[in-house]
């Protein structure tokens, strides 16, 4: 072969290469491709993954068509239509990391949204930074995500487990402990799934109890069954034998319903006070059977707790969700919707600042540290160097609403973000152990 031919070939190849790489970063785009990951199979699909996906769908469709109420009433994401690709979150962290890489490298997505399991978030976080992919976690709760290391490309619109657990402890101190004196009444134990979320939740519940109720004693045998084990016969026995009256749980997904049903059969709730930090999403599926008197949170002002809130955005969300899917939106629906909203805010803000379709770095800069109105509360991206959200968290006590024929909640107390989250830059555990300096409670 003659030399000249090789040269020509080389030139063509290089031109082609440049041509194929350059336009991506310059031209405005009509669509943005976003991977939306939630549990579509397995125990977490029904009560979590599916409502999450549906919540995201409603908001994405509304933004794409410009029909969402203010302040989200402009069309599209920096003018572009979002093209979501829904994907299953089940299978464990290692598998999810592989899929995440596929999303980025094979599907060439513009951003990733979602992830319910803390285990998956811990696995994806470092990889997202490594491959430089803007990723908005919507639901997962482990505080280790940002306290281990600051993340450059990862945002989270959901407050971490610290707030959920501290709010639970404070609620018990404020409401339940009034006038309680006997030792067993003051003892507490827990049943939590044996992974990041469950472990962290119980850890901070314990730390919180030590601060708010120094006289309360933790059991020596809290239970940590495997995630998705679905069978809790022995665990319920062990908890029943335990003197502790308060049982903390951060169970979510099908595990929560399974636990509730198995415990119900065995008269568990006649003797114990259950404190559930995420159970809100399971109340509807058990409906009438769900016991009254369970101390219940929903990880923020979402789902069950804000069902009667009448802010326009919330009302719109509940109405359109009910119209489309024939059910109330659950906590995860709100959480996924929120993550999509942050992406819109970031895109629009960055586009405005840049005067053209924004690059990923511009979007990240725009999202950092923003405060935005969610459905029934305000989300502040004020922790983890502006990447991690804090918000108020509410707890109440379940009480079936006979008049409406649907589950209800009473005695709701809302704790402001400054009351339950450490200040920016602090390490949660140290902060709680040192007496939570500087907290402001309402």
């Amino acid at each position: 072969m003659k030399l000249i031919n090789l040269k020509t070939l080389g030139r063509i190849a290089i031109t082609g290469l440049i041509a194929s790489v350059l336009p991506m970063s310059v031209n405005a785009k009509d669509t943005v491709k976003v991977g939306v990951v939630s549990f579509l199979t397995g125990p977490a699909a029904g009560p979590f993954g599916t409502p999450a996906k549906q919540g995201a769908e409603i908001v994405i469709d509304a933004i794409n068509s410009g029909t969402m109420p203010a302040p989200y009433n402009t069309k599209g994401f920096a003018g572009a239509t979002m093209n979501p690709i829904f994907s299953d979150e089940s299978g464990g962290g290692t598998k999810q990391v592989g899929l995440f890489r596929d999303f980025v490298q094979k599907q060439n997505v513009d951003a990733m949204i979602g992830y319910i399991s803390s285990g998956n978030c811990m696995a994806i976080g470092p990889v997202a930074d490594e491959v430089k992919m803007l990723t908005i976690f919507s639901t997962c709760g482990t505080e280790r995500l940002y306290e281990e290391k600051l993340r450059s490309h990862v945002f989270r619109t959901q407050g971490n487990a610290v707030g959920d657990s501290l709010a639970a402890a404070k609620y018990i101190a404020d409401e339940y402990f009034k006038g309680k004196v006997s030792t067993s009444d003051k003892m507490y134990t827990g049943i939590n799934q044996n992974y990041a979320w469950g472990q962290d939740s119980y850890k901070f519940f314990k730390l919180g109890m030590a601060q708010y109720m120094p006289s309360a004693v933790g059991s020596t045998k809290p239970q940590f069954p495997k995630l998705f084990s679905g069978q809790y016969g022995s665990e319920i026995s062990a908890l029943s034998l335990d003197k502790a009256k308060i049982v903390h749980t951060s169970f979510w997904n099908g595990d929560f319903e399974a636990f509730m049903l198995q415990a119900l059969v065995r008269g568990f709730f006649q003797k114990k006070i259950l404190v559930s930090s995420v159970g809100g999403s399971g109340v509807d599926s058990l409906d009438k059977k769900f016991p009254d008197g369970v101390i219940m949170g929903t990880r923020g002002n979402v789902g069950l707790i804000v069902r009667n809130d009448t802010t326009p955005l919330n009302k719109w969300f509940i109405d359109s969700y009910k119209k489309r899917y024939g059910a109330y939106p659950l906590g995860p629906s709100y959480q996924y919707a929120r993550a999509v909203m942050l992406y819109k805010i970031g895109m629009d803000k960055a586009a405005k600042a840049a005067g053209k379709f924004p690059t990923q770095d511009q979007v990240i800069a725009a999202m950092k540290g923003v405060t935005f109105e969610s459905f029934a509360d305000t989300i502040e991206m004020k922790r983890g160097d502006g990447h991690q959200a804090v918000h108020s968290i509410a707890y109440g006590v379940t009480k079936y609403n006979k008049a409406k024929g649907e589950p209800g909640i009473e005695k709701v107390i809302k704790y402001s973000a400054s009351c339950i989250y450490p200040p920016a830059g602090a390490i949660s555990q140290k902060w709680v152990e040192s007496g939570m300096p500087g907290r402001k409670c309402n």
Binding site: T94, K106, A123
Partner: protein
């Protein structure tokens, strides 16, 4: 032991294959494909380990024990010692798995057939039980692995790919040297007739033990490389019995004919998985299960037997 080994055709073809895969993966193909090649090469090491065992008709239904142990060794070394150097990582993974294999080998070398398979399974599940429940070992979340370095510099994906290729070539050479030696053939002899081997003055158990440790080292190395390539380890995708089952499956799919087969098979497996997962997310297990049955029924020699039919380098037997 290694005399003249580079002149052997198997090794030349093997090195050529790895070079082509690495070049394809780093220069020509899109990155997601190169990921599949990288995972395939890594997992192929564990499959090679299983294949070597299988040549004595020992099938381990718990080889994920070493695969996971190697991976977790890398994770632990990072967590407690801050080791991210890729050379140290692979050495740690291989050594850890090798030591474990050496210790358990004293027990396992006495077992054959289904008992060997079951005891391997039991050991792997013991490790699984520990990892899944112990918080300081990451429980079911596992641990994330930071990107590898080499002499203090970030290695990058391509660098890691080259490194994996390098390790695979070394393993091919070692495995071939072992299998072509009398010691390697001795294990085929053991499969044929254990009594005779004893009467020839060699301890059958010792020969199996050696083989077992080699196999464990390969699986451990695979786990270490996989951990580095994926950036994550967790018990469900590294140690659970179904992972062992997958490894055995790839071994059968690849065929026992050649030391290169495990790598071809493992890469093939990664691609089936990626595509099955993409196009039929709720049927990918069915596709893999169906492939497995199809291979068993219609291609008992594995994928390698297809290559042999069209192999231009095929050695003529007199």
């Amino acid at each position: 032991m290694f005399k003249g080994i580079l002149k052997e055709q198997t090794i030349q073809v093997g090195i050529g294959f790895v070079f082509i895969v690495v070049l394809l993966g780093t220069f020509i193909l899109p990155e997601w494909m190169s990921n599949n090649f990288m995972y395939g090469l890594s997992r192929g090491l564990a499959v090679l380990g299983l294949m070597i065992l299988w040549r004595t008709n020992l099938v381990s239904f718990g080889h994920a024990l070493y695969y996971g142990f190697g991976a977790y060794a890398v994770a632990m070394a990072q967590k407690y010692l801050g080791v991210t150097d890729v050379f140290l990582r692979i050495i740690i993974a291989i050594t850890a798995a090798g030591i474990l294999g050496f210790v358990l080998g004293f027990i396992l070398r006495r077992y054959r057939e289904i008992f060997f398979a079951m005891l391997s399974l039991a050991f792997s599940m013991v490790l699984y039980g520990l990892l899944a429940k112990a918080e300081f070992l990451g429980s079911t979340d596992g641990m994330s692995i930071s990107p590898s370095t080499m002499f203090g510099f970030e290695l990058g994906r391509f660098g890691l790919f080259y490194f994996i290729g390098f390790v695979v070539i070394l393993s091919l050479i070692f495995a071939h040297a072992y299998l072509r030696s009398s010691l390697g053939h001795l294990t085929t002899a053991i499969m044929d007739n254990e009594i005779r081997v004893e009467y020839l003055g060699y301890s059958v158990e010792k020969a199996i033990h050696i083989k077992y440790v080699i196999s464990a080292c390969l699986a451990g190395g695979a786990g270490g490389l996989m951990a580095a390539a994926l950036g994550q380890v967790d018990p469900d995708s590294m140690v659970l019995w179904s992972v062992s089952g997958e490894l055995v499956f790839v071994t059968i799919m690849a065929g026992l004919g050649n030391i290169l087969a495990p790598f071809v098979g493992a890469i093939f497996f990664e691609f089936i998985r990626t595509y099955a997962y993409e196009f039929a997310p709720q049927a990918w297990q069915m596709i893999i299960g169906g492939t497995l049955l199809a291979i068993i029924f219609f291609l008992p020699g594995g994928l390698w037997s297809l290559f042999q039919k069209i192999n231009p380098f095929k050695k003529e037997k007199k």
